[in-house]
Amino acid sequence: MAEVKLTVNGKRVTRHVPDETLLVEFLREELRLTGTHVGCDTSQCGACTVHVDGMAVKSCTMLAASASGSEVTTIEGLANGGLHPMQKAFNDNHGLQCGFCTPGMIMTAVDMVRRYKASGERLDEEAIRHELEGNICRCTGYHNIVKSIQQAAGEM
C-alpha cells in the first residue's frame, strides 16, 4: 500500500491505496470525482486529462503514488462553482455532444491556451488541431471543439 497525499481542487487529501493505483482510479474511485473519464487503456484518448501542478497530464498514465505531493485540478475544480471561459465556450459553440470526452478536452484546451499565451505563439486553427492530437472525440467531428477553443483563447 502507498500513502498518497495530494491537494485536489484546493483540498488536501491523504489516502492509503494499493501501489498500482492509477491517478485516474484514485480520483474516480477514492475521491469519487467522476468527471474525469477513462476512454482507453493505451493513453491515447485524453478523456482522463487533469492538471498536475498546472500542466495537463493523462491521469491514466500516472500512478497516484507518483503524483503524491502535487496539486491536482480536475474538471470539477476548474472554476469553483462558476464557469471557466473554456467551459462556457464549449456550451456557446456546441463543442460537446455526449460529453464523455469533454472534461478531458476542456482540461487539455485550458493548458493549451495557457502555454501559447505564455510563449506568445499564435494559436491558430492548425495549431489547435495539432495540439488536440492526444484527445479523441467520436461525436463532434472536432469542428465545434476548435471553435470553442478559439473563442476561449480570446477570453482567457
Binding site: P18, E20, R28, R32, L33, T34, G35, T36, H37, V38, G39, C40, D41, T42, Q44, C45, A47, T74, I75, E76, L78, A79, L83, Q87, F90, N91, D92, H94, L96, Q97, C98, G99, F100, C101, T102, P103, I106, E125, E126, I128, R129, H130, L132, E133, N135, I136, C137, R138, C139, T140, G141, Y142, H143, N144, I145, V146
Partner: protein, 788 residues
C-alpha cells in the same frame, strides 16, 4: 409562438452544464452499496472446442465471490442471444441462426467470446482471479473473410449453417435488370469493398446490476440506446427476469452509433450474477474489450454493374454482395445488409430495374450489426462510386450525369420497396456546387499542382431512409418489434412541464430540441420544461434512438401528446372564460379568447385542471396526455456532399482540404444541433475512407485491438466543414422532420474516395485509402502510361 426558442432557433444546449462541470452521470460513475465486479475470461482462439474448465484456483483467489460458467447459465434456463429480424432466403428457407450463449458452453467462435465470469470484491481482484481460470481448448480452423467462408471446404462456424451461409436473399427483378444491362450502351462494373469498422463510442460499455431479493426485483444501469427494448429482450428471450420485475436505466450515455442498441452477453451475465451472488455486480469494458466485443459495422464485398443508354440514363443496376455477420447473429444484424441496404440502391435516381443479391455469412469474427448509417452507407458507397466512375468512363461531368438521372417527381416508387415522399435533389446539388465553389476548382487544382500536390474533387449524392419505421411495414418484412415511439406530456399544477419520451439521448441534444417544440408552441420558458428519458420506471415505453428516428418519430409522438394537452387546455379555458372552444388560442404563455383581452395564464389553466373546481361537466381533473405514434412511411433525408483532397504523389498521404455538405433534412428544429450531427458523421465517414479498418489475421486474431492500431480520426485529420441546408418538409409527420443523425456518415465516404480517385487518375481504390494504398494506386495508374 416563442420564436427565440421555437422551431428553427439555435438554442444552446440545456444539458451541457452537467457535462462541462464534470457532473455527468454515466453508468460507470454509479456506485452501489455492496458492489462487486465482474471480469470475463475470454477465448484467445478464434475457433475452438471448450474441452474443460478448471475454476478451482480462481474460486480460492482473494476476494472472489463466484465463478460462473455457461453450464450454470443453461441450468438456470437463461436463454440464448437472438436476432430480432427474420430474413428468408430466395429458396424460401428461413435464415440460419446459430446458438449464442452469453457464456460459451462447448464452443467458442471468435477471439473475445466470453467463457467464464468471475465476480469479486474489486475490479483488480476479479481480473486477477480470471487469470487463474484454466480453460482447456481444442483449437479448430478459423475463417475471417466472408468470401473465403463461402468457398468449399472452408471451416464451419455453425453446424446448422452449411457453407457458413446464413441467408441468400434477393430483391428486385433479376431478369429485367439483366436485360437492362444487356441493352445498355455502356456498362460500368466495379468490385467494391466496404471496410469493417469499430464504432468506438468514447464511453466503453458498462453495466451495473442490482438485485433486491425481498422483491425478486432487478435494476440494470447500462449503456443503452434503447432501455425498454433491452428490458423486453432480457425478459422475453433471455429469461433473466420478468418485465415487471426488471428496471433498466440508461443514464448519461457517452455515444452509441449503433453499438449500444444490442444486448450483449455481459449485461445478461451481470443481471444473472447479481441474483446468484446477492451482490450488486458491475462490469465496465476497457477499450481492448470494446474492440474485441462491441458489434462491428459494414464489412461488405460487392460486385456491381450499372448500365447506361447513350444519353447517360441508367438502364439497369445489379448488385451482388457478400456480407460478413461475424460469429453470431446480433440483434438487428440481418436487416442491415438487406432492408436497410438494398432498399436504398435506387439512390436519388430514377432507375427502372434494380436487382440485388445478398449472401450473409458466418465467420470467426465479432458479430457485425448496425453502425451509424447501417446498410445505407454501404448502399450509398456502391451507387456513388459507380456514378462517378461511370461518368469518367463516359467522359461526362459527374454532376451532370447525376442530374440527368435524378428523380424529379414525387411521390416516387422505386423498384426496391421504398416510396420516396418528397425531395429536391437538383436543388441540393446546386446548393453544394455553389457552396463548394466548384466553378473555381480548376484554379485550386492548378495552384496545388504548383506545390507538387494532386488535387481532386469528388461528389456524393446520398439518400437514406430514416424515421424507422411504420410498424406494419417492418413487421411484414420480418421485424420482431413495432417501431413506433411513445411520449407522455405532464403539465404540473404550477404549469411546468415534464416530457417522458421513449427516445434516448446519448449526445443528440434531446433535452434541448424536444423542449424547444413545446416552449415554442405554447410560449413557455425553456427552463420550465424537462425532458425525461432512459428509465423504464419513469417512461412507459419506448423503442429508443437509432436510425435517425428520434426527430421524425420521437418528436412526432410528443407533438401528438401536445395536441391532446392543448385540446384539454382549450376546453378548460373556454369553460372558465365562458367562450367558445374554437375561439381559444394558446400563445405567449397564455390561453386567450381570440380578438379579446380575456385570457388565463398558462399556469392558471394548469392549476384549474388540478383543483378541479371549475371544469367542464364530465371532464377528468389533471393535465397529462400520452401518445403512441406510428409513422406512416420512412423519411428520406438526402443531399450532396463534395470533398476536395490533396494527395502527395511521393508518399500517398491524403489530406481532405475542403468538405461541403448540403443536406435536406426537412424542418430543422435546432440548426446548431443538426449541424453538429453532420459534423460528427462526416468525421466518421472521413475516418472510414482514410483511416479506420478492423483487421483480423488469417487465424482470427484481432490485429487492431487498440488506438495504437485502429486509426481514429483526430482533429488534424479533418477540416472545418461547410454545411448548407435545403428544405423540403417531410409530408408524413407533423413537424416535417426527416432526421439528421446518420447522413454525415452515409454521404461522406464516397465523396472522399471519388476525390482521391479523381486526383490520382485511378478508379480502382478501396477503403481505407491509407498512404500505402494510395501510393500503390498512383503507381498502378502510372504503369500503362509508362509502358506506352
Amino acid at each position: 409562438m416563442n420564436d427565440a426558442v421555437g422551431i428553427g432557433a439555435r438554442v444552446k444546449r440545456k444539458e451541457d452544464r452537467r457535462f462541462i462541470i464534470g457532473s455527468g452521470r454515466y453508468t460507470d460513475d454509479i456506485r452501489h452499496d455492496n458492489q462487486a465486479y465482474a471480469a470475463f475470461v475470454r477465448s484467445p482462439h478464434a475457433h475452438a472446442k471448450v474441452v474443460g474448465i478448471d475454476a478451482s484456483a480462481a474460486e480460492a483467489s482473494e476476494g472472489v465471490v463466484a465463478v460462473l460458467t455457461g453450464r450454470q447459465l443453461v441450468d438456470d434456463k437463461i436463454g440464448n442471444l437472438i436476432c430480432g429480424w427474420a430474413i428468408t432466403s430466395r429458396d424460401g428457407t428461413p435464415m440460419k441462426m446459430g446458438p449464442w450463449s452469453a457464456l460459451a458452453t462447448d464452443r467458442v467462435r471468435y477471439v473475445g467470446d466470453a467463457v467464464v465470469a468471475v465476480i469479486a470484491d474489486t475490479p483488480a481482484l476479479a481480473r486477477r482471479a480470471a487469470e487463474k481460470v484454466v480453460v482447456e481448448y481444442e483449437e479448430l480452423p478459423a475463417v475471417v473473410s466472408a468470401t473465403r467462408a463461402l468457398e468449399p471446404g472452408a471451416p464451419q462456424v455453425h453446424d446448422l449453417a452449411p457453407g457458413n451461409l446464413i441467408f441468400d436473399w434477393v430483391i428486385g427483378d433479376e431478369a429485367a435488370t439483366d436485360a437492362g444491362l444487356r441493352q445498355a450502351a455502356h456498362v460500368t462494373e466495379m468490385r467494391i469493398t466496404n471496410n469493417r469498422l469499430s464504432p468506438n463510442a468514447m464511453e466503453p460499455r458498462s453495466a451495473l446490476a442490482v438485485y433486491d431479493p425481498a422483491e425478486g426485483h432487478y435494476t440494470l444501469y447500462t449503456t443503452s440506446q434503447n432501455p425498454h427494448v433491452a428490458r423486453l429482450v432480457l425478459s422475453a428471450f433471455y429469461n433473466v427476469a420478468p418485465e415487471n420485475k426488471l428496471r433498466v436505466v440508461a443514464p448519461d450515455v457517452g455515444g452509441g452509433f449503433g453499438s449500444k442498441i444490442y444486448i450483449y452477453p455481459e449485461e445478461i451475465t451481470c443481471l444473472w450474477a447479481s441474483m446468484k451472488t446477492g451482490r450488486s455486480v458491475k462490469w465496465t469494458a476497457d477499450r481492448s474489450e470494446a474492440f474485441m466485443t462491441d458489434a462491428h459495422g459494414r464489412d461488405h464485398d460487392t460486385v456491381a454493374r450499372m448500365g447506361f443508354d447513350k444519353d447517360g440514363r441508367i438502364t439497369g443496376f445489379r448488385v451482388d454482395t457478400v456480407a460478413n455477420l461475424g460469429a453470431y447473429m446480433s440483434l438487428f444484424s440481418s436487416c442491415v445488409p438487406t432492408y436497410l441496404y438494398a432498399t436504398l440502391l435506387s439512390g436519388q435516381y430514377d432507375i427502372g430495374n434494380i436487382f440485388c443479391n445478398v449472401k450473409a455469412v458466418y465467420t470467426n469474427t465479432v458479430p457485425v450489426d448496425a453502425y451509424r448509417g447501417a446498410g445505407r452507407p454501404e448502399a450509398c458507397y456502391v451507387i456513388e462510386r459507380m456514378m462517378e466512375t461511370a461518368a469518367r468512363e463516359m467522359n461526362m461531368n459527374p454532376a451532370e450525369l447525376r442530374r440527368r438521372n435524378f428523380i424529379t417527381q414525387f411521390p416516387h416508387q422505386t423498384p426496391v420497396i421504398m416510396n420516396y415522399d418528397t425531395g429536391g435533389f437538383g436543388a441540393g446539388l446546386d446548393a453544394a456546387l455553389r457552396a463548394a465553389d466548384v466553378a473555381s476548382f480548376p484554379a485550386r487544382k492548378a495552384e496545388a499542382a504548383r506545390r507538387g500536390k494532386l488535387r481532386g474533387i469528388g461528389y456524393s449524392c446520398y439518400i437514406e431512409a430514416c424515421g424507422i419505421a411504420p410498424s406494419a411495414a417492418v413487421g411484414s418484412l420480418g421485424a420482431g418489434v413495432g417501431l413506433w415511439e411513445s411520449a407522455e406530456v405532464r403539465v404540473n399544477p404550477v404549469g411546468t412541464i415534464e416530457v417522458f419520451t421513449g427516445s434516448h439521448s446519448h449526445g443528440q441534444g434531446h433535452e434541448t430540441t424536444f423542449a424547444q417544440i413545446i416552449a415554442g408552441r405554447f410560449g413557455l420558458p425553456m427552463e420550465n420544461i424537462s425532458i425525461i428519458h432512459g428509465d423504464t420506471d419513469r417512461v412507459q415505453f419506448g423503442m429508443g434512438t437509432y436510425g435517425s428516428r428520434s426527430g421524425a418519430v420521437g418528436m412526432s409522438a410528443i407533438v401528438k401528446a401536445m395536441d391532446k394537452v392543448e385540446a384539454k387546455v382549450k376546453k378548460i379555458a373556454a369553460h372558465a372564460l365562458e367562450a367558445a372552444e374554437d375561439d381559444i388560442v394558446v400563445e405567449g404563455g397564455a390561453v386567450k379568447v381570440a380578438g379579446t383581452d380575456r385570457q388565463m395564464l398558462w399556469h392558471e389553466v394548469s392549476l384549474a385542471a388540478y383543483t378541479g373546481h371549475n371544469l367542464p361537466a364530465g371532464m377528468e381533473p389533471g393535465l397529462k396526455e400520452d401518445s403512441f405514434y406510428d409513422p406512416v412511411n420512412f423519411t428520406f433525408p438526402a443531399g450532396t456532399y463534395i470533398a476536395e483532397v490533396e494527395v502527395d504523389p511521393d508518399t500517398g498521404v491524403t489530406e481532405v482540404v475542403r468538405f461541403t455538405a448540403a443536406d435536406d433534412f426537412g424542418t430543422l428544429i435546432n440548426p446548431m444541433i443538426v449541424e453538429g450531427q453532420v459534423h460528427g458523421g462526416i468525421a466518421q465517414g472521413i475516418g472510414q475512407a482514410l483511416l479506420e479498418n478492423v483487421v483480423y489475421s488469417e487465424n482470427g486474431q484481432l490485429m487492431t485491438g487498440s488506438y495504437m492500431d485502429y486509426a481514429m480520426p483526430r482533429a488534424d485529420h479533418v477540416p472545418s466543414y461547410t454545411i448548407e441546408h435545403t428544405t423540403t418538409p417531410c409530408p408524413g409527420n407533423p413537424l416535417g422532420i426527416k432526421g439528421c443523425g446518420e447522413a454525415g456518415a452515409i454521404g461522406s465516404p464516397p465523396a472522399v474516395i471519388n476525390a482521391i480517385t479523381d486526383a490520382i487518375g485511378n478508379n480502382d481504390l478501396q477503403m481505407p485509402a491509407t498512404p500505402p494504398v494510395v501510393w500503390a494506386a498512383i503507381r498502378a495508374a502510372a504503369r500503362p502510361a509508362a509502358a506506352a
